[in-house]
Symmetry: C2
Subunit: 366 residues, 2 copies
Amino acid sequence: MSVEHELYVELGERRYPIFIGPDLIGGAELIRPYLAGSQALVVTNETVAPLYLERVRQALSNVHVCDVALPDGEIHKTLASFSKIIDALVEGRHDRNTTVVALGGGVVGDIAGFAAASYLRGVRFIQMPTTLLAQVDSSVGGKTAVNHPTGKNLIGAFYQPACVIADTTVLATLPPRELTAGIAEVIKHGVIYDAEFFGWLEHHVDDVLHLEGNAIGYAIRRSCEIKAKVVAADERESGLREILNFGHTFAHALEQATGYSRWLHGEAVSLGMVMAADLSMREKLLGDAEAQRIKQLLKRTGLPVVVPPDLEPDALLEAMSHDKKVKAGTIRFVVVDRIGNVRTTAACSQTSLAQTLRAGDALCER
Amino acid sequence: MSVEHELYVELGERRYPIFIGPDLIGGAELIRPYLAGSQALVVTNETVAPLYLERVRQALSNVHVCDVALPDGEIHKTLASFSKIIDALVEGRHDRNTTVVALGGGVVGDIAGFAAASYLRGVRFIQMPTTLLAQVDSSVGGKTAVNHPTGKNLIGAFYQPACVIADTTVLATLPPRELTAGIAEVIKHGVIYDAEFFGWLEHHVDDVLHLEGNAIGYAIRRSCEIKAKVVAADERESGLREILNFGHTFAHALEQATGYSRWLHGEAVSLGMVMAADLSMREKLLGDAEAQRIKQLLKRTGLPVVVPPDLEPDALLEAMSHDKKVKAGTIRFVVVDRIGNVRTTAACSQTSLAQTLRAGDALCER
């Protein structure tokens, strides 16, 4: 066990650490100070459980541990899964001093976090993200939620964990497609906040994908730092935090229009970011060359950058109208002025939007 | 419309007013400043809707209003009802600037509040309590929840309203049994915090039950003041706020053991308070005469003060073990030292507790 990086999300009395390094999930001394009492519930999924549940149970050997393994996948991010966790807490007679530990990807973290926020009106919560996407994005910042049949993350809470334990060793068992999906959010953090980091990724993204020790650790660390800074400045998304949704208005629509089954979230975000860059370019905010750089970096990793021809623009528009970021009926987009600098606007023209939705494989090109 | 009393729950940036007086629910100018935007969803129940929904809709005539009427009763305080509200918000395409208005008793307020806390991770919330119990207790303080099949209020959030509008005129259409049930929580506030108010009630409880203008207004106001003070000192129930649960450990067990169907919540609280006073007396904390005063005041109003013989002590004990206030397996009770002064303890003897559970009609008597 070796904590290589330790950083903090600065939220006053709810300040909490993110630990990054190899072989962390079995570390009893790492997690112990963050437990609320003598009970814990580990929430995981059927894919992760056989790999890592036992190791986490051992790290928690000094407390009474229950566990619940949800079926794997975004389609199970529902109120029904939320209820399963609540049932496990009730059946295990967990009291207010229990701790809910989320061991898994973003779906597990989001559902478990909402259950921790709601059980007895809030119990202790710890994130142990096991996918790259969860480590660099969803485990940090306190957004928890489940999906509604008509839209993603419509039911949830802002609820911060007591700590985040990001074990880089577990990434070795990730399917390559899941690893690549996580890179999308890493690249996003470069685009929205840090041109230098984007440039570093252009040089080192292959090292990151090969889990080369220093590269993967730094990519996770820098992503978490950027996210932590944005979250600390705007915990409840009244302004700045919206920039983290770069690419997500399109991504959510893509996922919804395809029943959450065609892409992993990170893959949808990749395509969503190319669409957002394309829209920014058409609106003459972003230069053609920079739009191309965004598309090319994503494409090199193997992430999708083409709108499939079977996706009707009207279906995507309809899906976008349910987005949480719709204000008074107007769709708001995060647009790029230059790499490292984005902002939210409701002023994109219908013409540009229609062109983006129809662009197919010609996104960001002209 | 006449705001006779206006007081504030002092919670820093979440400070909010409670308005008390006749004919308030139709007051457009009263509610308008507290709406977040141009949409609202009124949550009510099938009993209240025909009486008052139209009047509230008129008060909201300047915004786009949807409504949802839940079936009436504690047995509908479920995740299913919560989902119904979320569905109505989604179907009505409510965005982050919507306002959820709870028009009804404690059940409506608790479910609607949890839905407002969870929809898009939190939208504006206004309480319009229409029962005495909701006006003097559940609408104030930000506790929202739904029940789990095995226990009350196990799933919820702390979520404060933007304002509480307590219309005393609507109490005239309350069934007498509901009005009386509300008195239980009024009396509770005297027992836990204010001996003088308890004495005032001994003299004026009949005026309150007859909805005599000054008496009912003052009883609501003083109850809200006491609750607001306790909540402001301890919003998330880490200490002082537990005193508001006086009688409730027993009451929740009574309700659960009888499937939430035999008593109204206030009725169960009445019996629970007599049991808690009895336990305090057996533990030699409370004098016999004061225990008798508590029982007598409740009895005079027609509230239940006798443990029915069909309720097995073991069933009640089992139900109590699921209570949220259980810490590390020990049941905690709010006990009375004297009228106006209570505290939480985990030190009650099993013998005293067993005697209280078996006391039947001899509670507080020896």
